[in-house]
Amino acid sequence: MSDILPKFSRRAFGRLALASSVAAIGAAYRPGQALAAAPTGQPIKVGILHSLSGTMAISETTLKDVMLMLIAEQNRKGGLLGRPLEPVIVDPASNWPLFAEKARQLLSVDKVDAVFGCWTSVSRKSVLPVFEELNGILFYPVQYEGQECSRNIFYTGAAPNQQAIPAVDYLLSEEGGNAKRFALVGTDYVYPRTTNQILANYLKSKGIKDEDIMVNYTPFGQSDWQTIVSQIKAFGAAGKKTAVVSTINGDANVPFYKELGNQGVSATDIPVMAFSVGEEELAGMDTTSLVGQLAAWNYFESIDTPENKLFIKQWHEFTKNPKRTTNDPMEAHYIGFNMWVQAVTKAGTTDHDKVIDTMIGIRQPNLTGGVAQMLPNHHLTKPVYIGEIQEDGQFSVVWKTPSTIAGQAWSPWVPETKNLIGDWSKPISCGNYNTATKTCIGKKHV
């Protein structure tokens, strides 16, 4: 990281033409360049397992691009252990069994040392046994429903307590509008169902009654939201401040928000808090009627830090498109990749077992300020931000957690898992350790 900084500052400042500062920064940069001799030797292979075709290509292609950018950057800095990094890209085509096949190919044929990939929970669930069997390393960059903790997976996206719970806390708070009724609306698959189960239990613990929680699921790609929006409107007419928590997936969001606008539901009446609407999704929407709608993430493109500015600039240069947005899963890959680089450097080898053990405790600055730390349960510490959609399709941060939050693999709000923790450090070394009975359940993930 320290090497990227001067290089890009040099570019940025160079154009502004202040000869003296260029000289100063140039001097600071030279030692780094001398160190960064062209890497030689056997390349270290990095697997990229993201769908480049099919329905998920819309989100995952970007993550492939950001990985290529990070790898190119690392190579420019001298590679890793003096060896060059080589990306190995496969296309699992949004097809879950194919994910497992491609993962097997990456690990046993291409012999990659780390894999960055997957988006949907179902793709992660299908590759998990492969990574455990062949002792691979997977970095998974997307917020998810939790309730899993594998030694071979590093979860660099948010767990429910790093997104869903703080988001609901915000809606319950005075500042967030004192919501007393909740419509949990989602696409019908594992992530929304598990998240909503956790949220419903959490809300009940906060004194919200059963009749004040409405749960509604829709098929993938739902395009006709008329009935559901009018149901939400009617649900909000009980005289209590109502909020919608949306776990609606990708494509279906556009017609959902359009219908909200059409039926005159504005963010000031019934705010919608979304967990999977980011900058990339907004880029395809007419955002005028969405102003004020909310989203909870650990990263927003609009957050004003020098690291983030540099990252965005680098991204625009790499993609040669100044309009490409950045988003939360991209930051997760950025953190995960740099942590892996650190761990390999520290371990002095790419040996999987050694790297997995070294990963715990590694710290890496976030793009939004603050530091992410890899916890013994293979989750990160993360700050949580609530953003409001602006007319320009960006989010303005209206609230953030006072400090970073440690990711929980197992939710205390699900009765079956409330005593479980994951801890891959010695002496426990277990993904599902029951703190009440002091036993490890073993190779069982749910």
Partner: protein, 534 residues
């Protein structure tokens, strides 16, 4: 040059520091805007309106348009193009600080802002503006607004606005905490709200009915009114669902009419039909972008321009597909299925390569956004437009089929290709035109769908199954069947959805269609006659 500007900035900063020192000493009603705290900003806005400061209107207007900026060092400015006006004095400023940021906004501030605007608008000479403001007051029922509403009521002459103001008064009154000796006024307020009878009134009355602070009399009246509103709403909701069903049905109808030509009339299983719709939607986007770049004043009607353009683009593409691919496969429906499926993948990937994999934003013009309230039925304008459009398209298509020579030739060719050829009809030309017509109709459907769904390379996939379902269910080769099937499926889905949920409704409809097709393999309106092969 650089040095000079640096010097200048230093001067500005110094000046600013000097000013902020002065201001810091005497915090005025504007300084809350500089705080960056949402609650303080909101309080400042309401205080400013209440104070009657002459600058209030301009400040609120600027804040709403996001033209209000502040410097953390002190100073609030209104941006007007490239120049700035001091919000406190209304005078233009020359030396603008460098670190200007927009005054922060969140939903709380937006809410306060909405009532502030409504308050200012209640004084407007125009009835429509006052009515809008009164409606806003009614929806927000903020007790702090009570004096304003009373004041407005005293002067209001227009009966519509007056009625709305009375309802706003009643709502605001009931939203206030109970004070002793208010029973009569509160009962009257409950009655007024009962006459409004909408969801907002129901919400307020539900709170009153459940409150421990109200007298039993008021609670009882409120509970009674709530149940009468509920009853009324239930009746309205039947009509509302009927509208949803019709509008959903008209989307299905639009998606299916093109297919009814290619599949129903020509016997080609066109799996690329959805992709033709997608291309229609992308054409709409291109037309919008083109108009925005060249003749911006035409922007509101760009959608109307897109209709013929999309029809022609998709129609020509259809003719190209027919000449290049389909014509070799007549009489072999399964091969057309495979070939057009491959084509659909190619088209999808082509669009993905040209426009990128992400969604693109097709703008819904202002005249198509929002809704009309017909009693308690919410008629959304874009859906209404699609409903009308679908019937216009179907009507035009029927005219073409019945009244033009092309229609006659098409019917002749489908009934008996050889005899038609012997009669001198150039069957290849008719085939090409018929397929082009079907493709053009898909393009029209694409224009419509761009207004309600997201426009991405995957757009077509979500409509292809529905379209085939409609055509098969309605009876292959019959436009009336297509109409009846689209409306039946649309209505059926929307009647089932509120009770069993969207996922189950979709499954239930599929099961019902399967059962029906088993009984009546030729669909609702089977084609009869000698031309039909047994």
């Amino acid at each position: 040059m650089c040095r000079f500007s640096q010097f200048l900035w230093a001067g500005v900063v110094c000046l600013l520091l000097a000013f902020s020192g002065v201001r810091g000493a005497a915090a005025d009603e504007f300084s809350g805007l500089e705080s960056g705290q949402f609650n303080t900003i909101a309080d400042t806005v309401s205080a400013m309106v209440a104070s009657g400061n002459p600058q209030a209107g301009a400040v609120i207007d600027a804040l709403e348009k996001r033209h209000l900026v502040y410097s953390p060092a002190g100073g609030v400015f209104i941006r007007a193009g490239t120049t700035y006006v001091d919000a406190r004095t209304g005078q233009s400023v020359q030396n603008i600080p460098a670190d200007l940021k927009p005054v922060r906004m969140n939903n709380h501030v937006r809410q306060v802002l909405a009532s502030a605007t409504a308050e200012l608008e209640l004084l407007s000479p125009e009835d429509a503006v006052r009515l809008k403001a009164a409606t806003q007051m009614y929806a927000q029922h903020n007790p702090a607004m009570l004096p304003v509403i009373h004041h407005a009521l005293e002067r209001e002459k227009n009966s519509h606005v007056r009625l709305k103001l009375e309802q706003a008064n009643a709502a605001t009154m009931l939203a206030q905490p109970v004070q002793p000796g208010q029973e009569a006024t509160r009962l009257a307020a409950v009655k007024t709200l009962g006459s409004a009878g909408d969801l907002e009134a129901r919400g307020l009355l539900a709170v009153v009915a459940a409150s421990d602070h109200e007298t039993p009399e008021v609670r009882k009246a409120a509970a009674k009114t709530v149940s009468s509103i509920d009853l009324k709403q239930r009746v309205w909701s039947v009509l509302q669902n009927a509208f949803y069903g019709l509008s959903y049905g008209s989307v299905l109808l639009l998606a299916a009419t093109g297919l009814a030509i290619t599949f129903g009339v020509m016997g080609v299983i066109n799996m690329a039909h959805g992709e033709l719709m997608m291309i229609g939607a992308y054409t709409t986007w291109l037309v919008q972008q083109g108009i925005r770049a060249t003749v911006p004043w035409l922007e509101p009607v760009s959608l109307l321009v897109a209709i013929p353009v999309a029809f022609c683009v998709c129609g020509l593409l259809g003719i190209l597909i027919e000449r290049g691919l389909i014509r070799f496969l007549y009489g072999r429906p399964l091969e057309t299925l495979l070939a057009t499926w491959g084509l659909s993948l190619i088209l999808q990937q082509a669009i993905r390569s040209i426009f990128g994999p992400t969604n693109i934003a097709v703008i819904t013009p202002a005249w198509l956004s929002g809704s009309w309230m017909l009693g308690s039925v919410d008629i959304t304008l874009n859906r209404l437009a699609i409903f009308v459009f679908a019937f216009l398209v179907l009507g035009a298509l029927m005219l073409v089929m019945r009244k033009t020579s092309l229609g006659l030739e098409m019917r002749a060719v489908t009934q008996n290709r050889r005899m038609a050829a012997l009669m001198g009809i150039r069957t290849p030309r008719v085939d090409a035109l018929a397929f082009g017509l079907g493709a053009g109709l898909a393009g029209l459907a694409g224009v419509a769908v761009s207004q309600i769904d997201n426009v991405s390379p995957n757009l077509g996939q979500s409509y292809i199954i529905d379209s085939f379902m409609v055509v098969v269910f309605g009876g292959v080769g019959n436009l009336w069947g297509t109409l009846a099937a689209a409306m039946t499926l649309g209505m059926g889905g929307k009647i089932l959805e509120p009770t069993i949920g969207a996922v189950s409704a979709k499954i239930a409809i599929l099961v019902l269609v399967i059962l029906y097709i088993q009984r009546h393999p030729r669909g609702m309106f089977p084609v009869r006659g000698r031309g039909v092969e047994s």
